[in-house]
């Protein structure tokens, strides 16, 4: 029977990173993926950050299949028929080695897995891992759905994504709760390059990201996004599952409404539907992070809830967690000790890094917005009303308009409660 140094379950950014680094250090690594190929089941909105990716794959951006480097990031507060916009465009973002890129994961992850393969990782697609194998209380491998499908290894890396049945089977955490995940749907809409560049005011190779809050999720906790790819747009809506259930809404309906929104419609006009996708985003934050290691196993990426929803960061945290897991495993290999105590080094490395520091910083954020829906309903609407009032030139004086806006706001919610809300938001995010 063949035994590996490490079996990595799931070929996403976390799993591929971990397996790549382990193989590079000379370990015998198998990477098991349930899809037809690495990337076949993988979905994200589409922003990949250069710096963290280069920690593992130096110079990747010169050869990897990337869509566009992002030179402008916009934040939109949507009301029913209008928008208040914010954003940042910077020449520095247009210079190599760039800050971040839009990607399509089926293509990018396939490329990433190829790097792992070339480093010596045995990549096995079309294979589902069904359970862990235990001996004397410690995890010694995994059982796959194939005939005689047991795979033994010193250590198992659970990189099986948000639906980490493996971490659950290993007893590291119970099921996620509806307020810890966001249901997200996305469409990839084909448009000619020149049209995209015209509509978004960018040159060849340059891209824009737009994050939308407010009417795009009908006031529920969540966001919508619109990203420019090379010859397509990625547009999507994600909403906290608990909010969707409570309101009886469906994300696909919200996405259709978004595309018909007077601000969005001209941007997607004439685009041809290329693909429809759905995925869960882990949004539980710091307090929902499960136990990260046990005897013979570590959990990385989405499976470990490592997502910073407010900053739409996930793939970078996934890759870094794969890196820290690999470092811990290499030390465990040196000591020939794969116990929980030895693998706890992984969590220590995560905690010393910005991964855990950031998640800790925003530890109260998801819960805060869940309890303060006005930030996604009332406040974006008020911002739009205020902008409309101030920008509409008529015979009302500006001071009078200010008082009108003030009065309008006060009708909707007492000012002291608004002040309390914003103070709370500051505290939850500072």
């Amino acid at each position: 029977m063949e035994k590996f140094d490490a079996v990595v379950v799931g070929a996403g950014p976390a799993g591929i990173s971990a397996s790549y680094l382990l193989a590079q250090a000379g370990l015998k690594v198998i990477l098991i993926e349930r899809g037809d190929f690495p990337g076949a089941k993988n979905v994200m909105g589409g922003v990949l950050y250069r710096h963290p990716t280069e920690q593992i794959f130096p110079g990747f951006w010169k050869t990897a299949p990337l869509e566009r480097h992002v030179i402008e990031q916009r934040v939109w507060l949507l009301a029913e028929d209008s928008v208040v916009t914010l954003g940042h465009r910077n020449r520095a973002f247009a210079e190599p080695p760039y800050n971040c890129f839009t990607v399509l994961r089926a293509k990018f992850d396939k490329w990433l897995a190829q790097q792992a393969r070339e480093a010596g990782v045995l990549v096995v697609p079309e294979t589902v891992v069904e359970d862990v194998i235990r001996e004397d209380g410690r995890i010694v491998g995994v059982r796959t759905g194939r005939d005689k499908g047991e795979v033994y290894a010193d250590v198992v890396v659970a990189a099986d994504g948000v639906n980490s049945l493996l971490a659950q089977k290993a007893g590291l955490h119970p099921e996620w709760k509806p307020d810890q995940v966001a249901v997200t749907v996305k469409e990839v809409l084909a448009l000619p390059k020149a049209v995209i560049q015209d509509r978004f005011n960018v040159a060849e190779g340059e891209g824009v990201t737009i994050e939308m809050f407010g009417a795009s999720t009908a006031g529920m906790v969540g966001t919508a996004f619109l990203y420019t790819n090379s010859e397509s747009l990625s547009i999507g809506v994600g909403v906290l599952l608990s909010d969707l259930i409570e309101r009886g809404k469906n994300c696909n309906d919200l996405l259709e409404q978004l595309k018909a929104h007077p601000v969005i419609a001209p941007l997607v006009e004439g685009a041809e539907l290329r693909e429809y996708l759905a995925h869960l985003i882990p949004e539980g934050g710091y307090y929902a992070i499960p136990r990260l290691y046990t005897d013979g196993m570590v959990v990385v990426g989405d499976a470990a809830m490592l997502v910073n929803g407010l900053h739409r960061e996930g793939s970078n945290l996934a890759m870094l967690s794969g890196k820290y897991a690999a470092e811990a495993i290499l030390r465990a290999k040196e000591w020939n000790d794969f116990s929980a105590a030895s693998l706890s080094r992984y969590e220590q490395l995560l905690r010393e890094s910005h991964v855990m520091r950031d998640l800790y910083k925003y530890r109260r954020a998801t819960r805060f917005f869940e309890r303060h829906h006005d930030f996604l309903g009332l406040y974006p609407a008020l911002a739009n009303d205020a902008a409309e009032a101030m920008m509409t030139v008529d015979s009302t004086s500006k001071r009078q308009k200010q008082w009108q806006i003030f009065g309008l706001a006060r009708q909707r919610k007492p000012l002291w409660r608004m002040a309390k809300d914003f103070w709370g938001a500051w505290r939850a995010m500072w």
Partner: protein, 94 residues
């Protein structure tokens, strides 16, 4: 977009290799008859769950394997597995 795409048109963009057996099972159909609001019928991005009379029917063939139904079922009444290796949805864009 000049016109709204239907869910059928959306699913048509995807590669599916459906297994013979469903990877989604209602554990106890009786429990569904007592369910308030049947959230599975509204939350699913491909509307795989339908209320027919008193029963919930599941069309697993168009499932995008997101996992929302498993977590969203208020009675923990959905047995959710990954389709067997190589089966289910395949994204070309991602």
């Amino acid at each position: 977009m000049s016109k709204q795409a239907t869910l059928e048109e959306k699913l048509f963009t995807l590669g599916f290799r459906p297994d013979e057996e469903s990877h989604l099972h209602i554990k106890d159909p009786e429990l569904c008859t007592q369910c308030q609001g049947h959230p599975c019928t509204t939350l699913c991005p491909v509307e795989a769950y339908k209320l027919e009379g008193d029963d919930i029917t599941v069309s697993f063939e168009g499932c995008l394997e997101c996992g929302s139904c498993r977590i969203g079922c208020p009675h923990d009444n959905i047995e959710w597995r990954y389709p067997r290796g190589g089966f289910g949805v395949t994204y070309k864009q991602g």
